[in-house]
Each structure stands twice: as C-alpha cells, then as structure tokens.
C-alpha cells in the first residue's frame, strides 16, 4: 500500500498471435495494489489468454507485462509465481491424488528453499519451513472453510471444495496478485454470493485480485474496476457503474440490431 497510484501489474500494448489468429491485440491496462479488477468479455474474447500471458504460459508476440516495475517477458513460469503472481484454473487442476493439505503445502513451498540435503539430514531449515508451511496451509484451509477435509484426497472433495482448495493453494504461494479464472463456474446463486464474500475477504487480507468471470451480477457486485475485452481488443475500462452503461459493452454482450448497427 506504499503508493496506491502505481499499478502493481501493468499490461502494455500486449499482442499475442497464434499463427494467423490474433488472440490479443494491443491490450493495455493496469491493476492498482489492493483492488479487485474484473476482466470480462464474451467467450473467446481473450480473457484466459491474457491470464496465460501474465502467468508466463504464453510469451507475448509484442508488448510487455510489468509486475512491480519488473518486466515478466522471458521469466520462467515458476519464477513468476515466486515473484508474487498466483493463479487458479478455469478447469480445476489440483494434484488429485495428494491430500488437500499437501496441495496447499506445494503452494507454500514456492517460497521455500529446502533441498535434498536439508531434507535428508533434517536440518533446521527443513524443520522451520515444514512448520511454517503447515501452519500457513492449515490457516488457509480454515480461511476457506475446508480445514475439516485437510486429509482428504483432492480428487475426493466436492466440486465447490475443489474450487476453494484451488484458491487456498494459490494464496499459499505468498502472492501479491492473485488471478482467479472463473472461480464461480458451476456454482449455484447461493454459492456465488458466498464466493463474492470470500473474494472480498481475500482482498481485505492484502491481496490484489484479478478476476475473470462470466456472471455479471458477481462481477458488478465485487469488483472495483472492470476491463472489457472483445475479439482480443480492449473495448472498455471503468468502474462497474460506467461499464454497465457503456454502449459498446452492451453491444458486445447483447449484440446489436441490424438496423442500429450502422
């Protein structure tokens, strides 16, 4: 919270092409520290591609992504996570045959350094990091309300708990920015409300949140600002109220009548 005006993450003229397909075309936006930014758009607008570019899965064709002033181009994926960007996945990707606790521990290990040697001889570093990791992991599971299922295999958790576990695992990596890729997919309205609460609580713990979501009510209800993508281009940016009344956004989501289109 040192300087609320400098963005924690800056996406600058990001362009991403897959062969002839332009998935992202000259997209620029920033996320301020401590805010919840919604990234919305119709299917195929390039939201997840944008996520993948930020977390290092795709290399930008041109443009740059800067995290806390540092360019992420060419930085290894695990290194980006260690620097402080964590994510969840649109289709859940837990480690299915590890327990819930172990899943979160893997996340916590991102900030740890224990290697073969310390583990083999149970050096103080191993002990300290194990203790720290377990405490953090259990705390996060409690925060997510799934601590009673800590020893359950991830594959055996219910769908909602798996989604919650993914968020816990992402938070365990000690991020500053946490990217949630459609966390409400498959949730019923009541669960969505709970999730909204949860996202706010995540932010209140000091995380900056980048949220991809389809459900308009959820996005409008929880975000501070919204960025709208359509066909890989940024078509609007602003507060939820501004976005709601933006004609371009309405057109993108509802389509335009042939007669009005001209």
């Amino acid at each position: 919270m040192s300087d609320a005006t400098t963005p924690i993450l800056e996406v600058q003229n990001l362009t991403l092409k897959f062969g002839g397909l332009t998935a992202l075309d000259d997209v620029s936006f920033g996320i301020k520290e401590g805010e919840i930014l919604g990234l919305i758009g119709p299917n195929g607008a390039g939201k997840t591609t944008c996520f993948n570019a930020v977390t290092g899965v795709y290399r930008p064709t041109s443009g740059d992504i800067r995290f806390q002033g540092r360019s992420l181009t060419g930085v290894k994926r695990y290194r980006i996570t260690q620097l402080g960007i964590a994510r969840t996945f649109q289709n859940i990707r837990l480690f299915p045959s590890m327990t819930a606790l172990e899943n979160v521990l893997v996340g916590a290990d991102a900030q740890h350094k224990t290697g073969m040697f310390s583990a083999l001889f149970r050096l103080p570093r191993h002990r300290a990091e194990e203790r720290d990791g377990h405490e953090r992991a259990m705390e996060l599971l409690r925060f997510m309300g799934i601590h009673k299922r800590a020893d359950e295999l991830a594959a055996n958790l219910s769908y909602g708990d798996q989604r919650r576990l993914e968020i816990a695992r992402a938070m365990a990596t000690g991020p500053k920015l946490i990217c949630l890729d459609e966390p409400a997919a498959g949730f019923n309205p009541q669960e969505k409300v709970q999730l909204m609460e949860l996202i706010r609580k995540v932010r209140d713990r000091g995380f900056t949140v980048l949220l991809i979501e389809h459900d308009m009510r959820l996005v409008m209800g929880v975000t501070d600002r919204i960025v709208v993508l359509e066909f890989g281009r940024l078509i609007a940016e602003g507060t939820p109220a501004e976005i709601r009344d933006n004609p371009a956004v309405i057109a993108a989501y509802l389509g335009v009548d042939e007669e009005d289109a001209s």
Partner: protein, 388 residues
C-alpha cells in the same frame, strides 16, 4: 496395516527392530519352505537385496516423479563398470574407495541423460531411456578399454574383518588362513527337529568366495539406509514437488515448482541408487561382462516396481523380493519357471492393476469410489469390494 498404525510408538519401534533382526538372521535360520533348495540361500538373498535397492531407486523415478524409465539397467551398468575399472581393470583401489566414485559417475550419467531428455514427456521419455540402457551395454561390448565382450574379472571385494595369527583384528582382503572374529552356526531343519549345525558356520564379516551371507548383510544394511533416506526425502518439500510434478506438471510449474530441476533431481537420485547397487553387485560377482546388463533386467526392475505398487516403498520392496526370489525358489520347474512367472504377472495385471500394495492413497481413493458407487447404484458389487 491399520491395526499396526494404532499401536503406541515404542511397540511399533520394537516391531520394526524385530523385523530387521529377523531379516538379518534369515540366512542363518534357513527356514524350510522359504529357503531355496539347490541354490545357495545366502546368494539368493543377496540378489534380493540388490533388487530391493534398485526397486527403491527406480521407485523414486517412476513412482514418485512419474518418469517412465526403461533403461535403468544403464545406471546399474555404469556403477558396476566404474567399480570394476577402479578396483581391477585399470587401477587397484580398494572397493570402499571406489564406491563414491562409482555413485558419482552414475549420478553424473543420470544428469547427462536427464538434462536433454527430461524435456520430453511420457512415452517419448520411455523410448529415450530404453535407448540409453542399450547404448551403455553396446559401448561396453565394443570398447576394449571396458573389457569388451570378455568383461572384467577380479573385482575387489569389501574389506573383511578377521582375527589375525597373533589374535588381533585384521581388516583387509579375505585370506584362506584367517577366520572371522566369530562364527555363527546355521540351523539345521531335520524331520520335525531343529538343530544347531556347528559344521555349517558363517564367518562374521569375511567376504569370501563361497559364503555369500556377509554380502547379504552388507546389501541389507544399504537397503535399510536407503529406505530411511527415501522416507526422509519423501516427507519433505522435495517429495511433494515430485508428486505434484507427477500429478500435473503444468499446474505444478505454475504453483512455483521448478519442475525441470526436480525431475532432474529425481533422475539423479535414482541413478545414484542404481549405481550403488551396480557397484555392490560387481563386487559380489567379482566378474562382469555386458551380458550382466541386458535389456531384460530393465524390464525386470520395472516389473518389480509395478508388481509391488509404484509409489509405495514397502510395495516395491515386496515386488523386488518376488521378482528376484520366486524364479530361484522354483528352480525345479526349470524352463517353465519363466512361463509361470509371466503368467503370474499377467494375472496380477488383471487382478491388481495398481500392484500388490498400491500407495495408501490409491487404496483410499478406491474405497471412496466404491462407497460412492454403492450410494449411487444402491447395491454392493461383491467382487469389486473383495478387490479393494
């Protein structure tokens, strides 16, 4: 197993210690049924420990990190050849000095093989490692410096501890005139009676030509040490990173696991253990040639891991025992034993596809699956339950 877990700690500890003592005493006890008629029991047990060692090493690569390695015998060969060269063929080092070099050479071989090949996944990795195993053997066949087809003999034995002529303790090569610091009589199982056979004794810690029991003790000790190390590493950041990589490599990478580094580490650790086994094997055999490292052995090693239950260290030990021991025990069947062995493997693949002792997790997941199935269908599928 669950009952065992519920016992208080000292009882558990006592149980394990007792089990270890029993394991050490096994070749002395020579229990009927278990002991192998027609083949030296100590020698069979030594081979069993080597298979156990290899299974533990391969389990780290295949079971923990999920990297299918079909050329594990290559590492075994590198370890054996390094020890052979250093102690007999090109130098005259004592075995204990050559061991660190043997494992270092194998670990480096693992790194050299892993660095380029661990970028490919799944089946491709299997093919590359398969090639590696064969390449190592063919290099040995065609290189005079490595003794080509004729192999290398007179590989050094571990130092024996003996009583010298003046009554003091001597450490060094076993010599015909010298005896161990004490001797242990074997048991003799007659018709319904058990006798202590004072004629048939094992010299304590004399690594000679005939009695293989001291080698077995050495092998067993190494297995126990590796088992302990395996436990310590598995329950740490390293073990979790391996498992996460096995489960979902991309997700692991995005959760901050440097997957390539950890895969390479798994490969190197596996190679280390394989090399150690190879060097010990070479020392015991005293002679190696390229035929000791056929592709068949890679397959047998992998069979040990898969039969036992990859990912479970106790399972793979059982698997190693079965793969190494059964063919020796049933030598009477002669040529048929391979057929029987193959049939047993097929039966196992049908009845217990996860191996005899799958990791506890798989068991628990299956139980959960079964419970859900019962809830959904409303009836208990008897055969399914028996299998779990």
């Amino acid at each position: 197993m669950n009952k065992l877990k519920a016992l208080p700690k000292p009882v558990k500890l006592a149980f394990w210690v007792l089990l270890a003592i029993l394991a050490y005493a096994l070749p002395i006890l020579e229990p009927p049924i278990i002991s192998t008629p027609g083949v030296d029991f100590g020698g069979v047990l030594f081979v069993v420990t080597m298979y156990c060692l290899i299974a533990l090493g391969l389990n780290i690569v295949v079971g923990y990190a999920g990297l299918l390695d079909l050329g594990y015998v290559g590492f075994y060969a590198v370890g054996a050849y390094t020890a052979a060269i250093l102690t007999s063929f090109h130098a005259n080092w004592p075995l204990l000095l050559s061991l660190p070099f043997a494992v270092a050479a194998t670990t480096i071989a693992g790194l050299i093989l892993g660095a380029p090949t661990l970028r490919v996944r799944g089946d491709y990795l299997a093919i590359v490692t398969l090639g590696f195993g064969e390449i190592i053997r063919l290099v040995a066949v065609n290189t005079e410096w490595l003794g080509d087809r004729r192999g290398i003999s007179n590989i050094a034995r571990p130092p024996s501890v003996m009583t010298g002529e003046d009554g003091g303790v001597v450490v060094g090569e076993a010599e015909p005139g010298l005896k161990g610091i004490f001797e242990i009589p074997h048991l003799y199982w007659g018709d319904g009676t058990v006798l202590v056979d004072t004629e048939d004794t094992t010299q304590f810690l004399v690594f000679g030509v005939l009695d293989q029991i001291p080698y077995y003790w050495l092998g067993l000790t190494v297995v126990l040490l590796v088992l302990l190390a395996d436990y310590l590493i598995k329950n740490s950041r390293v073990g979790r990173a391996w498992e996460a990589t096995r489960e979902d490599e991309d997700a692991a990478e995005l959760m901050g696991v440097p997957t390539f580094k950890f895969k390479l580490l798994a490969f190197a650790t596996g190679a280390f253990i394989g090399g150690l086994a190879g060097a010990l094997f070479a020392s015991r055999q005293s002679f190696i040639n390229p035929d000791s490292f056929l592709l068949l052995f890679s397959i047998l090693f992998l069979a040990a891991v898969v039969v036992g239950g990859q990912g479970n260290r106790w399972g793979v030990l059982v698997g190693a025992f079965l793969v190494a021991y059964l063919p020796q025990r049933f030598r009477d069947f002669d040529d048929f034993r391979v057929l029987v062995f193959g049939a047993a493997l097929v039966a196992l693949a049908i009845l217990r596809p996860e191996g005899l002792f799958p990791p506890r997790r798989t068991v628990r997941a299956k139980q959960m699956e079964h419970e859900l199935e019962v809830l959904e269908t409303g009836h208990d599928d008897g055969e399914e339950a028996a299998r779990v």
